[in-house]
Symmetry: C2
Subunit: 117 residues, 2 copies
Amino acid sequence: MKVMNYKDAELKAEKAAKGAGIRWLLSERDGETGMAMRVIEIEAGGQTPDHAHSWEHQVFMLKGEGRVIVEGETRAIAPGSAIFVAPGENHTFHNDSGETMEFVCMIPVSATKAYEH
Amino acid sequence: MKVMNYKDAELKAEKAAKGAGIRWLLSERDGETGMAMRVIEIEAGGQTPDHAHSWEHQVFMLKGEGRVIVEGETRAIAPGSAIFVAPGENHTFHNDSGETMEFVCMIPVSATKAYEH
């Protein structure tokens, strides 16, 4: 078992993102697992880069309001939104609200080596 | 891509749980994925059964306060708690607050066949 508060994980700046950071919560460091849990934080007016990779995202929105754009299609997102970005899909998250946007972002554990964590 | 609000997923009663329900948000039905996202809701004073299975959980607490008991060890949980339950560990979630407890509960997609969804 591991229990932690997400605010106790260091907020690391996300390179290539405008005003975004990442907190690593759960990963292969915590035991036998097939996935990793992070919280992404995007400052008011900030965004993540439009990019694609071979692994999926499963996202749950906690705070803030804005848009996700996947393969050119725009959808509104707000607290309570669940978002699936399939492997290979281009995606970018925009915070259009006046507060920090926060969301849980799950990836397969096989993809964690692509990130500093 | 899929975007939905978690409240738009049907709340199904959890058998063998006292006052608990589950909303299925993302799974193999939504495309190529290695995991599934659900939200578990536990009424005030309710709990999930103490049980174990061969798959892990990665949990993020949204609402309510209480305890998780894993292999006999009790830890307090509240909004913002990230919880890892390793494969095979006995676990039960208790809602000790006066409001409904809600948490995101991730499982590997290989385990979804163990659940009605």
